[in-house]
């Protein structure tokens, strides 16, 4: 049996352990999850491209330059030019802004709304939970793209409506996952204690329950990013997303895939690659976040 003095010593030892720097932590994580590290780098590059688009390229992404129509990839135009003479590399760089803006906005809004609704449903339980979950069942039964198409056909096209169209189908998916964690949290005595102290429902949900379901929330959020980018590209490809002349990857693909796949293949190929790379990176990044935050996977 350890004496009090022994315990004091061990506590002292713990305090004197050297603190690992964040660089070491990143290195350690990168060693354990190389794919996650690569995807995180890709995501960072994409964010940098979006933020520094004006610095990275000097071409105007929307200005027509008819003297340079259909120029093949080369030194002047790395990815060639499109049918309006616009530099494709420039439009891809600026298109990252659209993809990330729509992707992050829709994911954050969808996940957050799902978080609140899911926790609220679990907290109130009973009939509220039952009715709410049936509604979630209805929404989840539709594939993401079908749901997004329906929303766009009701509200119309444009960036804001595309964000809305992607956000709505994401909400029930997040709510369902978060609810299952919240149901467990609800049974923990501190929630009863908070109730006994007379705290309002809103306070209990926001102060005591939501912080404890952040792990599934973050996992869902990161996994939604790739899906949201893909949905935005799909809607734009179908002519229901953002519109010309806004640079957007799906829109670039739509404008070039049919007519120029044969004679100027660079027009559809590079936006296609950009979409693939972005979705791949965000999916891997989401997986890495899940592996890191999920206690079961972490222990393994």
């Amino acid at each position: 049996m350890a004496s009090p003095s022994d315990l004091a010593v061990s506590e002292m030892d713990f305090d004197t352990l050297p603190e690992r720097s964040w660089v070491d932590k990143i290195k350690d994580t990168a060693r354990k999850k190389p794919l996650g590290a690569v995807s995180a780098c890709a995501v960072m590059v994409m964010i940098l491209l979006a933020v520094l688009a004006n610095v990275i390229t000097y071409y105007d992404p929307v200005q027509n330059a008819f003297d340079s129509m259909h120029v093949a990839p080369g030194a002047a135009h790395w990815f060639g030019t499109d049918q309006f003479g616009r530099d494709i590399f420039t439009r891809i760089v600026f298109g990252a802004r659209t993809a990330l803006f729509v992707g992050f906005s829709a994911s954050i809004l969808g996940s957050t709304a799902g978080l609140i609704l899911g926790v609220g449903s679990a907290y109130f339980g009973g009939r509220v939970d039952l009715i709410f979950q049936r509604f979630m069942d209805i929404f989840i039964s539709f594939p993401l793209i079908i749901m997004a198409l329906s929303v766009v056909s009701i509200f119309g096209t444009g960036t804001q409506n595309v964000i809305l169209a992607i956000t709505i189908p994401l909400i029930p998916r997040c709510a369902r996952v978060v609810r299952s964690s919240a149901l467990a949290i609800r049974e923990i005595p501190y929630v009863d204690a908070a109730r006994a102290l007379g705290f309002a429902h809103v306070r209990i949900i926001f102060r005591h329950m939501i912080p404890n379901v952040m792990a599934p929330y973050l996992i869902m959020l990161t996994s939604f990013l790739g899906q949201a980018i893909l949905l935005e590209a799909s809607l734009s490809y179908l002519g229901l997303g953002v519109q010309e002349p806004t640079p957007a990857w799906g829109l670039m693909l739509q404008g070039g895939a049919e007519e120029y796949a044969e004679s100027a293949p660079w027009i559809p190929v590079f936006p296609g690659l950009a979409i693939t790379a972005a979705v791949f990176a965000f999916n891997l990044f989401g997986d890495a976040v899940r592996d890191t935050l999920d206690p079961r996977l972490r222990s393994e």
Partner: protein, 539 residues
């Protein structure tokens, strides 16, 4: 005096026809047999030509019907060359001060149902088109506003009496939508029966329609034009996506698409098929317009509207856009090269057509400044969700407007909601619009610019009684020179002084087709020359 006028008109028309006809290929003796397969990029809303306006109906359904008169199939490029279809002889000369037209109807025509065609059928048809009963639609009623009465004094005679003499009447008769219906069908089944049923006197009989897939027709052996049709039948295959239509021609699953492809598609097909492909090209009686909403600020200000048109470099646009879109010709309100159309010398005097674009844009900026927008403003361009040429031209004009400091977003809608916005909601700033006609009939075609309480297809929501007055004058003026002079004033006011709405570029029709398709000659409209009785397969 009248003779001199007629000679002038004749010479102008001949020159015009010759200019357009240049691309038509030479023909050998027709061969009998074979089935023509062609692709159609639009759906069939109904079979009734009197209420529809889409090529989606015309291309598969027109071969089942005849018209009173039609554009000469051997010279479809001409705006003045019409020939009899169910009438006999030539187009009758008007009498009673150019207000009475007496047609002789052939006595050897039978409907596919076996019933004989008489002038009573033609009268019943035109009664339905010109003065339908309440609740019955007729899309081209306005084209016949000059008609006072239609009578059939005997089974072989049909008489049109006009309220006033006008050159717009005969071209209106040749509209490809004026399908001749049987009076017995109309009496027995009602005026809506033809929306879902077919009984005509055309070169082909209706066999079947598989919605979303194809329409099939087979040769009508009792067809009234001797020796025709040459084909055993045809199949009109529905293919809404352009890539599929292209691949169908490339893979020889279809021989032709009658609407037209963009230049790049033509080049790809030509490269792949070489001399197995023939390309016919023509100016197109369609133009893409920009229509500001006069009920919205600042588009209620003529200076702002003028600035919008002054910013557009049509001459450069023609050069470059013709490489990527089905637009090409710079023109005013009248189909280019028509005797009533503005010459280049006349065009360059109109705002937006000036040869010096820098001067034009400087003037546009000055006007914006004068109107209280020295730094430009933001607005939304409403457009139709169809690539060719709507979205291409929309993207181009947005770029043109950027050059005078305007920030423009594009709002694209599918065809249905697009029309609903133009016609009912009217909640747009500026919209892309189009003026697409079949038979070249400028006196009627330019009705797009008159007041919205008189023109059903003017979406700018303005009234201009001066334009209405000139429109009436033109239509009642028998002297071509005077018509032309009024047209110039009309054009200048509509496009320049008031800039109510403005033409961007006229369309350009490109029809690549399998070389074994013979006899079909391109017309300046995708609605014309689609009876298919002169088409044959050289295979």
């Amino acid at each position: 005096m009248r003779n001199t006028r007629m000679k002038t008109l004749f010479v102008l028309a001949a020159v015009f026809a010759l200019a357009l006809w240049s691309s038509a290929p030479a023909e050998a003796a027709p061969k009998k047999g074979g089935t023509l397969k062609f692709v159609v990029g639009s759906k069939i809303p109904s079979y009734d030509g009197h209420i529809e306006s889409t090529f989606g109906m015309i291309h598969p359904i027109r071969p089942f019907y005849s018209l009173l008169i039609r554009v000469n199939p051997d010279n479809p490029a001409s705006p003045t060359d019409f020939v009899c279809d169910v009438c006999e002889g030539g187009i009758p000369q008007p009498t009673e001060g150019h207000t009475k037209y007496t047609f002789k109807i052939r006595g050897d025509i039978t409907f596919h149902s076996g019933q004989k065609l008489t002038s009573a059928d033609v009268k019943a048809t035109y009664d339905k088109i010109i003065s339908p009963p309440k609740g019955i639609e007729s899309n081209r009623k306005a084209f016949f506003s000059m008609v006072k009465s239609v009578t059939a004094p005997d089974p072989k005679t049909l008489v049109f009496k006009l309220k006033y003499p006008t050159g717009a009447f005969v071209p209106a008769l040749a509209l490809p939508y004026n399908f001749i219906y049987s009076k017995a069908d109309l009496d027995k089944h009602g005026y809506k029966w033809h929306q879902k049923n077919v009984n005509g006197t055309g070169a082909f009989r209706f066999v079947q329609h598989q919605p979303g897939a194809f329409v099939e027709g087979k040769r009508y052996d009792k067809y009234h034009h001797k020796g025709k049709p040459h084909l055993d039948g045809y199949r009109a295959i529905s293919a809404p996506k352009m890539a599929i239509r292209l691949q169908a021609i490339r893979g020889d699953r279809a021989a032709i698409e009658f609407r037209g492809f963009p230049p790049k598609a033509r080049d790809d097909l030509k490269k792949a098929l070489g001399d197995k492909l023939t390309v016919q090209e023509s100016d197109w009686n369609c133009n893409l317009m920009v229509t500001p909403n006069h009920k919205r600020k600042p588009f209620d200000d003529a200076r702002v509207r003028r600035a919008l048109t002054l910013a557009i470099d049509r001459w450069a646009g023609s050069k470059y856009l013709s490489r990527i879109a089905i637009v090409k010709t710079v023109g005013g309100v009248v189909f280019p090269k028509h005797p009533l159309a503005a010459t280049k010398e006349e065009l360059v005097k109109i705002a937006g057509y000036w040869p010096d674009i820098n001067k034009s844009r400087a003037e546009a900026k000055r006007l914006l400044k004068e109107a209280g927008y020295p730094n430009g403003f933001e607005f939304t361009l409403h457009n139709r969700g169809v690539d060719q040429p709507y979205k291409v031209v929309g993207t181009w004009v947005i770029d043109q407007w950027r050059k005078i400091g305007l920030k423009v977003k594009q709002w694209v809608q599918p065809s249905g909601p697009f029309y609903a916005t133009l016609r009912k909601k009217k909640n747009f700033d500026v919209s892309i619009d189009f003026n697409c006609q079949s038979v070249i009939n400028p006196l009627v075609d330019v009705s797009k610019f008159i007041s919205d309480d008189r023109a059903g297809n003017q979406y700018g929501q303005y009234q201009d009684r001066q334009l209405d007055k000139w429109f009436e004058e033109m239509n009642r003026e028998p002297d071509v020179k005077k018509q032309r002079a009024i047209m110039r004033k009309y054009e200048k006011r509509a496009l320049d002084e008031m800039a109510h709405q403005f033409v961007t570029l006229w369309w350009y029709k490109i029809n690549p087709h399998r070389s074994y398709v013979k006899g079909w000659k391109i017309a300046p409209s995708h609605y014309l020359n689609q009876h298919l009785d002169n088409v044959w397969i050289d295979k």
